[in-house]
Symmetry: C2
Subunit: 338 residues, 2 copies
């Protein structure tokens, strides 16, 4: 059985530094932290005996709550979380909330009934006041979804900035009448995206075409309906912002089937950089999220809280996105002007 | 609280018939059964008080074990199972085994430790002798995966027949050198598919090109590698059988990028009728599985066993597939001859 000294030795750092990392204390550089975490992984180190004893009374199970696993963004997030959790000796169970307040609470109940040790929430349906009491039964970390106040650790991207950038990109490509297509969830994350979208329109003095916007699109099939809705009722639309690669793929597919030129007649941006967005013809411009990094960090933060309930509880970890420009937005008349 | 009489009344059938359905006894027509199940759903009926009492000592949680949720086939299966389970008052937790024998047993442990009431296994890594003892702790139903012996209820398709049909289709389209592309799992289901593939080759007196076959392809990225492997080492290959739409999509994408004509240079079949197979250009020929029907049946069978442990334990429910012929296999020279 590896000891903290073994970890320190392999990492070439002091015992104190290792201890700092385990307890999520400040003043350790990211490079040292990574060396220590790698050494722990290599040695299969489980922190000190009292933590071990504590854990032996536990389930070694983490629940991850997500809206739906048919969304590949969440499936990929889980994939990475599970790998990381497994390195620390935890198994992951996945719970779908379908954006239902009741289901979310039902699954949080697993924490109360000690069926799981900790919870990761990747979405948030209830108000925080409703969730907070569950913290008495075990730690909760937010990943992907976030909020204003900081009652728990939060690991996420800046969705406002991402939405702003992809909207500006649409406008730079010549779009003047952009439809805002979302799934209609009223989470903080969803609000942030919309704020970013509206900010871009405002900056470029373009109107928000509320009537031509859609708040019910989640799946590929919805995207196909969105295109037909645009074609039949708002043919003036020349750009579509979506918060989902699936929806974007549906729009692109149906537009191409209907003989529209994507992007010249209709430019489309997705979100999440799913494999689908690359495979589509034309390929779909999208926002890449650092899924693996966010997943790893989330598990790391949660496991530290499980090992040491006094570990820093309310820190925010914000990750950067990348706008991946592909053929669904690169208008030809502009390309020839480049 | 609804009673069995309420259900009988709403369904317009006798109390005895309702009781038969609850206990999964024979001699009830499918039509009557559906009426009764619908009436139960509508009334939110939970069968008799002793079952209720029993259930109150339980977790009302079902674990579904699957290889990986990034495979949309399983994600869709879960989606349907969860809907059905929810109608019966059960919540579903999802457990990824990654085809690991150890992880599979770790999750089955949830049954022993009473963290869940019942388990659905959609894949099977361990030998059945290893799984069987867990049945003492609660019911297990197999869905998708199956095996020769019938120790538990099994809900599945005939994968041998499906693979046979899509291979015959490739041959009918003129393919003479077909590569067999799989994920290399050695489950019964995987063997069945391969048997069907080989049977088709044998019937049409074509050789099995083992050297040009691949047993490591699971994701889209693997499919892209498969194509490059074929191009560089086995350019004679003119048809690809895959057990996965993701892999098929990767093959098709990479082939098109490389300037090959799909299907004239290379015909490709997938499996599972994922949305991706329809959205690809060209669209991918595939096998449609009745996912929702299989999922519903699985939950129904499991819930009955939870309500009545003496319910029929070892029945097999086999569903039919559909071969969906699309552009990735419809060779032009043949189409013009039609």
């Amino acid at each position: 059985m590896a000891t903290i000294e073994d970890v320190a030795k392999l990492a070439g750092l002091s015992r104190t530094t290792v201890s700092r990392v385990i307890n999520d204390q400040p003043y350790v550089t990211e490079e040292k932290k990574q060396r220590i975490l790698q050494a722990m992984d290599e040695l299969g180190y489980v922190p000190n005996s009292s933590a071990r004893r504590l854990r032996s009374q536990r389930t070694d199970t983490i629940a991850v709550l997500l809206p739906r696993i048919t969304n590949p963004f969440f499936a990929n997030l889980i994939e990475s979380m599970e790998k990381k959790a497994s390195q620390w000796g935890y198994q992951v169970i996945v719970c779908q909330t379908h954006d239902s307040e009741k289901k979310e609470l039902d699954y949080l109940q697993l924490l109360k009934t000690k069926q799981v040790d900790g919870v990761v929430m990747t979405s948030l349906c209830n108000d925080w006041e409703v969730i907070e009491p569950y913290l008495e039964s075990g730690p909760i970390v937010l990943c992907n979804e976030y909020m204003e106040e900081m009652a728990v650790p939060m690991v996420h991207m800046d969705h406002r900035k991402a939405a702003y950038e992809s909207t500006i990109h649409l406008i730079d490509q010549g779009c003047k009448n952009i439809s805002y297509v979302s799934g209609g969830s009223d989470t903080y994350l969803a609000e942030e995206r919309k704020t970013g979208f509206l900010k871009a329109l405002e900056e470029r003095a373009l109107p928000f075409l509320e009537a031509a916007s859609v708040d019910w699109a989640i799946h590929v099939e919805d995207g196909r309906k969105v295109f037909n809705h645009i074609k039949d009722h708002h043919p003036i639309i020349d750009g579509v912002f979506t918060g989902s690669d699936e929806v974007a793929a549906g729009v692109v597919y149906e537009a191409v089937q209907a003989g529209w030129n994507v992007p010249d007649d209709l430019a489309v941006v997705g979100f999440d950089n799913q494999m689908l967005s690359l495979l589509m013809f034309p390929s779909v411009t999208t926002i890449d999220q650092p899924v693996a990094k966010m997943a790893d960090r989330t598990i790391e933060v949660l496991v530290r809280q499980l090992m040491n309930p006094r570990a820093n509880k309310a820190r925010r970890y914000i990750y950067s996105h990348k706008l991946l420009v592909r053929n669904s937005t690169l208008k030809k008349q502009l390309v020839t002007n480049l």
